[in-house]
């Protein structure tokens, strides 16, 4: 079977689920993971109950992917958490949790994916940052720090993995209708949208389109790049 194998993290809801379904429709064999169980299933989809920040769990998941598929073509590091709070009201445990999922998780998944991808000398890794980074959003210090780390990881991993035929790129969506921004006040979202060149909420398809571009075999000369959506 020659269908590409695509791993998407954070597939329980939101962008991750949308991307999993999108790549299933395109004929990929899709592997997904999330900490909590998923309440959906599709033919061709395999789910793992893995916390991306848990090194042992991540390594066990990749062992199974290697045994089951023998390859990995694409990794989409979508899993992420946020906490909207002034820094003076943010406990260290919250900062640690956000950095663990968003930055450490991206690192661990990329490291293990590259080990598998380098066997074929081909791979595509797409990380997730946020427009919160260039907009330097007040009230999201830990989140912005973690997503800045993802951009920095993208730059360095792109250089480290280039000789294995693996590209590493990053997409930075603006606000989308997901659980992540469910509790953010409308006024805050409106202020944020006003800073975009195209002041509207993003859609799942906007994100999928950008990820599609990074995953294309023809995008082999595109690496270490971050595309922020909405014209930020």
């Amino acid at each position: 079977m020659d269908a590409p194998v695509t791993l998407v993290t954070g597939t329980r809801t939101g962008i991750g689920r949308h991307l999993a379904e999108h790549y299933l429709r395109l004929g990929h064999r899709v592997v997904g993971c999330s900490r909590a169980p998923v309440d959906w299933t599709r033919e061709g989809y395999k789910h793992y109950g893995t916390d991306v920040a848990d090194e042992k769990g991540v390594k066990a998941m990749f062992s199974e992917i290697r045994r089951s598929y023998g390859r990995l073509d694409h990794l989409i590091n979508n899993a992420g958490i946020a906490s909207m709070n002034h820094s003076l009201l943010t406990p260290a445990s919250t900062v640690s949790a956000i950095l663990a999922t968003n930055a450490v998780g991206t690192f661990l998944l990329s490291r293990e994916a590259a080990k598998l991808m380098k066997r074929k000398g081909y791979g595509r890794i797409v990380n997730f940052s946020s427009v919160a980074v260039p907009l330097k959003l007040a009230g999201e210090a830990a989140y912005v720090a973690s997503k800045s780390a993802v951009v920095a990881l993208t730059h360095v991993l792109a250089r480290e993995f280039a000789e294995f035929g693996i590209t590493v790129n990053c997409v930075g969506p603006g606000p989308l209708a997901t659980n992540l921004i469910r509790s953010v006040p409308k006024q805050t979202i409106d202020r944020l949208l006003a800073q975009q060149a195209i002041p509207r909420m993003g859609t799942f398809d906007d994100v999928a389109n950008t990820v599609d571009f990074f995953l294309r075999p023809e995008s082999g000369f595109v690496t270490g790049q971050t595309i922020y959506l909405g014209g930020v």
Binding site: E55, K59, A60, S63, R66, R67, K115, K118, E163
Partner: protein, 117 residues
């Protein structure tokens, strides 16, 4: 590997004397070096044993070849012993304490990781 095979491999490893384990891991590393010689044109000494320097000093691996070998050895250990170990080490670049300085040092390090798993 099936669960029963995995458990059998892990049980066999626990019961194996340290010396036998060490020889097996040294052989496994040497096999992987030889594979890299064949598949990637790695330039390595003709005779390989525990004392052969790998990285730093007189070692024959550059940093990228070291990465390739360590990843290959991790995967070979998992296939042979049924245990997933990480051979990443923060002291990797230290000349004195690096677990990558010789084949024997890498085997000893891998064995300690295996026993701790």
């Amino acid at each position: 590997m099936e669960q029963a095979q995995l458990e059998a491999a892990q049980a066999a490893r626990r019961e194996m004397p340290h010396h036998d384990d060490m020889l097996q891991v040294v052989d496994l590393i040497i096999d992987n070096v030889n594979q890299l010689k064949d598949t990637q044109g790695l330039k390595a000494p003709a005779r390989l044993d525990s004392a052969t320097a790998l990285f730093g000093g007189d070692g024959f691996l550059d940093s990228m070849a070291l990465v390739t070998l360590v990843v290959a050895v991790e995967q070979a250990i998992e296939e042979k012993f049924g245990t997933n170990v990480s051979l990443a080490d923060p002291g990797a670049m230290s000349q004195e304490h690096s677990p990558y300085r010789t084949i024997g040092a890498l085997a000893d390090y891998a064995l300690r990781r295996l026993r701790a798993a």
